[in-house]
Symmetry: C2
Subunit: 335 residues, 2 copies
């Protein structure tokens, strides 16, 4: 059994999401808590901008509930930049114990799982999870400098410029909302290698990992996809989402209620994003900015959040290795 | 209070360490569980060699106690390679839920803390922590290709080729040893920036973080350095170790029993390593190969393990940013 069944729910007492200008022009733009018109967030390098996004998202989440940053007992943070410096510099001034994570685009779910597991231990009472990605820092690191103007293939995804931050507590902490989201269960992912070697098709590399985690979860818990208002993956994009839906149907778990954060954040008909969005900041921001509110007012008031990651690097791809995928699952309920 | 006081000790039921040829010729060489004479571990790239080290160290730790790999409920793993691919590919065939970490050279302590905190939660009963570093994968990524033959400054440290793996359980699991080491407390580190910008002097960048964690721990718990047989940092090297000892004395916590994994692993008089060793695999392997045995047979049967990390990247250094340090503390007792 690999499902984490919390004895008491862990409350997401606050969350916040900030994004770049391109994401702000997308269908969810008005839902974000803040954005930068030039994607720079008043910084002189893209890497500093990304760190600033993390700092800002966490500060906004903290301000919403009026806790003191020093009351947070642990920050779980990660990003895509080499050596995860977006997270280290983002948390530099926080004064909070820091756990750096690397789970590629699955990192926010990894953070939510560890933040709530640490609460379950009773060792601490308030934790945070924050992740980010920035189109401009990611492009020049993973692919080519922006100025190069490289063409992308139809299955490629665009790295989202955004950050999402969450405060999680064993107590309600504040009781001003009957709709406080609760993390009620979780399932950490197992690395799954489907043999995909095309770094411009990470959706295909990650979809089998999402399938594995979801099927394992349904089998172990006895739940079905229909028990949830929606099953939100992030970030499979158009290609990976299609593959997952196909594979899930064949596995006996059809998921007509599956949505993907990489498809929600952009309007593919109006924005030139090929297969959709990706990056640690995509699912992290879409969950906070959009999904939690949607599920709170839905009939079933329950969702599965399955963030997926492609655990490759430019070097492993150049060395001809296939792309291992991972998918961490978080069950969120309201009421 | 940021100390994690476990209600029940977490047992390190097994551990293993493997290393490269240069480390095997060092003073601790005979203590390792395995080594590769050509540092390749039968792989064709240095990055694959590093992943293989992680796989091998974990397998050796598992074999020592005869558990099944599938009994492990979570692996916490990290390394220095961009996007932590040493860990992802090392755990690829394990079939175990995977949490990727990035804490630079502090990663093994981060892993031990999270692995034992997850056990404290009661959600799982057996976890693993594993980290690695490889001189050849690190040099070409962080500095220059080996073939370039760059000169190094006196304060520079050599990335250790090694991996250490630990199995941790809430139960003794096996009872064939009265000297099973126990993790009895822990303290996650807070990011500390002392303003050091020289990437060839990471010891100086990390020493203030080690000081902060240690002083916070002594103040919060009321313990003193004298309560422990030794206080093992990793990996400050000669420069950082000297700075830490000076600063600790001035802070009212003189630590004549402080040792540093980066100084223990090499013979600086005979091996050309400048300020000593560093890397995620240094403290991870020295703890398993040497320190646990030493403390087990010591009078006090207690130690503090304080792994330190420099949370920079080549890019942040080039961009002129200072090097944030972090130090995670683990209290280990025997008997």
């Amino acid at each position: 059994m690999s499902v984490f069944n919390y004895t008491k729910p862990k409350y997401i007492i606050s969350s916040a999401a900030v994004c770049g200008s391109f994401e702000h022009r997308g269908p969810l733009g008005s839902h974000f808590d803040g954005f930068s018109a030039d994607d720079k967030f008043d910084c002189e390098t893209w890497e500093k901008s990304e760190a600033e996004m993390q700092r800002l998202a966490l500060r906004l989440a903290v301000d919403k509930v009026g806790v003191q940053p020093r009351d947070i007992r642990a920050i779980f943070a990660g990003d895509l930049i080499n050596q995860c410096t977006g997270s280290a510099f983002g948390a530099l001034d926080s004064g909070v114990p820091f756990f750096g994570l690397y789970g590629a685009c699955s990192t926010i779910a990894e953070g939510l799982i560890l933040a709530s597991a640490l609460l379950e231990s009773g060792l601490v009472d308030l934790t945070a999870a924050v992740t980010s990605s920035h189109y401009c820092s990611a492009e020049r690191q993973f692919r080519t400098p922006l100025e190069y103007g490289a063409q992308r293939t139809p299955t490629a995804q665009r790295t989202v410029t955004a950050s999402g931050a969450y405060l999680i507590s064993s107590d309600r902490f504040i009781d001003n909302s009957q709709f406080l989201p609760k993390i009620t269960a979780a399932m950490p992912g197992i690395i799954t290698d489907a043999g995909i070697c095309d770094a411009a098709n990470m959706g295909a590399a990650m979809a089998p990992a999402a399938l594995r985690t979801l099927c394992d979860f349904f089998r172990e818990t006895g739940h079905t996809p229909d028990d949830y208002e929606l099953i939100a993956t992030g970030d499979l994009g158009f290609e990976g989402h299609s593959i997952l839906c196909d594979l899930a149907k064949r596995s006996g778990f059809p998921m007509p209620n599956a949505v993907d954060c990489g498809l929600l954040i952009y309007d593919r008909s109006a924005q030139d994003v090929h297969a959709g969005g990706s990056g640690c900041g995509c699912s992290a921001s879409v969950l906070s900015a959009y999904l939690l509110d949607e599920v709170a007012k839905s009939p079933k008031k329950a969702m599965l959040f399955v963030a997926t990651g492609a655990l490759m690097s430019p070097l492993t791809v150049m060395q001809g290795l296939s792309i291992p995928g991972i998918a961490h699952l978080v069950e969120i309920r309201f009421g």
